[in-house]
């Protein structure tokens, strides 16, 4: 065991855990005051629920030896995952498992932005249980657990496809199936507390160093490169989103700087171990503008993805996966992309994007249809008007 690597991956695991409360703040600030708790509850409850799923079968289905599609139940309840080194790393299996656990928490938490302010809490629980099992675990296995995309040579350093495309596409399915918020498009639905959203963005940026640089699974040069390009892509995306909106709408906004930063973090995620700093500036710069335009386009397309999971994670993640196929450089991460003379890699990346989109969308739709048929997906109209916080959770966020 390498103590330094273990220390780094443990620290990274803590950082990634913190991203979920960070996300809760980021999302919570954007909802109306009457729904902030229910929105944060999605993230906080998942910190519990997804971990227990992970412990019992999620990790095993994702990472135990299996077939091209999914793992097995060999590591059910973490059997055989402990002090021994995880293959091809110098860290204990338990460290590897817990690092990955944090990814399984935040991915469904990201989706929850799509159905904020109206989802039924019990249906959310059932949906998530099924989704982690039938969508997250297989896709995770495809790319990181020895599945077919990994065998094909798809590059996804820290979860562009597994986490972001996956959650963005599932969010689209949710937005369709759950339907629009009452009054969407006519009532103002302005963020109720942007300081909370900014705080969340700050915690996400901080935690994401664990997400990306921790994915090197060692405290080495690769981790250091991932750290640098994560920061630089994020910085550039924060600026480029603000510049784009300043030009298009006339005002540079704080929600824009926060959203741009998240867009940059998303886009660099698959590329972090493969591209250098100057490339990362391009990846981030494009991500900021692209995701801003995607969010603007939403109102035209007419679905109500309340907190823009599709526009930021779906679009940003897809761009990142493709950008990895463009900017990857052997000197950095052992593989070349199109601009370094290897067009094949771009093809592989596109396959991984399409496979993820197709599978995640279809299976999410199926799960949602089943849940809808059995127990419904939304709170009642009366509960929605009164606010989900008091009607479902029996609490009011503020008594100032």
């Amino acid at each position: 065991m390498n103590a330094a690597d273990t220390a780094w991956v443990m620290a990274s695991s803590a950082l990634v855990l913190l991203m979920t409360p960070g996300l809760a703040m980021f999302y919570g600030g954007m909802t109306r005051a009457k729904n902030v708790l229910s929105t944060m509850m999605h993230s906080f409850f998942l910190m519990g629920l997804a971990s227990v799923v992970w412990l019992f079968w999620g990790f095993s289905l994702s990472f135990a030896q299996g077939n091209w599609f999914v793992g097995s139940l060999e590591h059910f309840a973490l059997t055989g995952v402990g002090a021994d080194l995880w293959p091809e790393t110098k860290i204990p299996g338990s460290t590897y498992m817990i690092f990955q656990c944090m990814f399984a928490i935040i991915t469904p938490a990201l989706i929850s932005g799509a159905f904020a302010e109206r989802m039924k809490f019990s249906s959310f629980i059932v949906f998530t249980l099924l989704w982690l099992t039938f969508v997250y675990a297989p896709i995770c296995h495809w790319i990181w657990g020895g599945g077919f995309l990994q065998k094909m040579g798809a590059l996804d350093f820290a979860g562009g496809a597994v986490v972001h495309i996956n959650s963005g596409v599932a969010a689209l399915a949710c937005a369709f199936m759950v339907g629009k918020r009452k009054g969407y498009g006519t009532l103002p639905m302005t963020p109720h507390n942007l300081t909370l959203t900014l705080l969340g963005a700050g915690l996400l940026w901080f935690g994401w160093f664990g997400f990306n640089a921790g994915s090197a699974l060692a405290a080495n040069e690769s981790a250091s490169n991932a750290f640098v390009v994560t920061h630089m892509a994020t910085s550039t995306a924060a600026i480029s989103w603000v510049l784009a909106e300043w030009i298009i709408r006339g005002k540079p906004t704080t929600l824009g700087v926060a959203s741009g930063a998240v867009a940059g973090l998303v886009a660099i995620t698959p590329a972090a171990g493969f591209v250098g700093p100057v490339s990362s500036v391009i990846v981030g710069g494009v991500a900021g503008v692209l995701c801003y335009l995607a969010v603007l386009a939403k109102s035209r397309l007419g679905y109500d993805d309340a907190l823009d999971v599709v526009g930021i994670h779906g679009v940003g993640g897809s761009w990142g996966a493709i950008a990895t196929g463009l900017f990857a450089a052997k000197a950095i991460g052992g593989a070349d992309g199109l601009f370094f003379g290897n067009p094949a890699q771009l093809g592989i990346q596109i396959v991984s994007v399409l496979a993820t989109i197709g599978y995640s969308f279809m299976v999410s739709l199926v799960i949602l249809s089943v849940v809808k048929a059995i127990m419904g997906l939304r709170v009642t109209e009366e509960e929605e008007v009164a606010g989900v916080d008091t009607s479902v959770h029996g609490e009011a966020a503020y008594n100032l």
Partner: protein
């Protein structure tokens, strides 16, 4: 002049505003209030302790208008704010003796 005071459901504010603007009302003042009435409140629960919250969020709109249009305004407000469900609120009318526009010193009818 009359002061028209309406207690309404918060999400009806924009409807009421448009309704009275069409009658030529050019100004109004809005306050967030809590209402107690026939509409029952909800329970809140904190670590298992339950509190009955019987004050519900409402919006109070105050408009001073000339006596001539007062009746019309009341009707418009009432119909715009109506959902038919309990808790829709009330409209009250009181007499105003005088009014001043601070900016110009204009008084009464001209001040509105």
């Amino acid at each position: 002049m009359k002061k028209i005071e309406a207690i309404i459901k918060p999400f009806k504010l924009d409807d009421v505003k448009s309704a009275v603007t069409s009658l030529g009302v050019q100004g109004m003042t809005v306050t967030e209030v809590k209402g107690f009435g026939r509409q029952k409140g909800h329970k809140e629960i904190y670590r298992g302790a339950e509190y009955l919250v019987d004050f519900l969020p409402k919006i109070k709109i105050e408009m001073v208008v000339s006596s001539e249009i007062a009746r019309q305004v009341v009707e418009k407000v009432a119909s715009a704010a109506r959902t038919g469900a309990i808790g829709d609120g009330k409209v009250f009318v009181t007499a105003v003796e005088s009014a001043v526009r601070i900016r110009t010193g204009e008084t009464d009818g001209d001040a509105l």
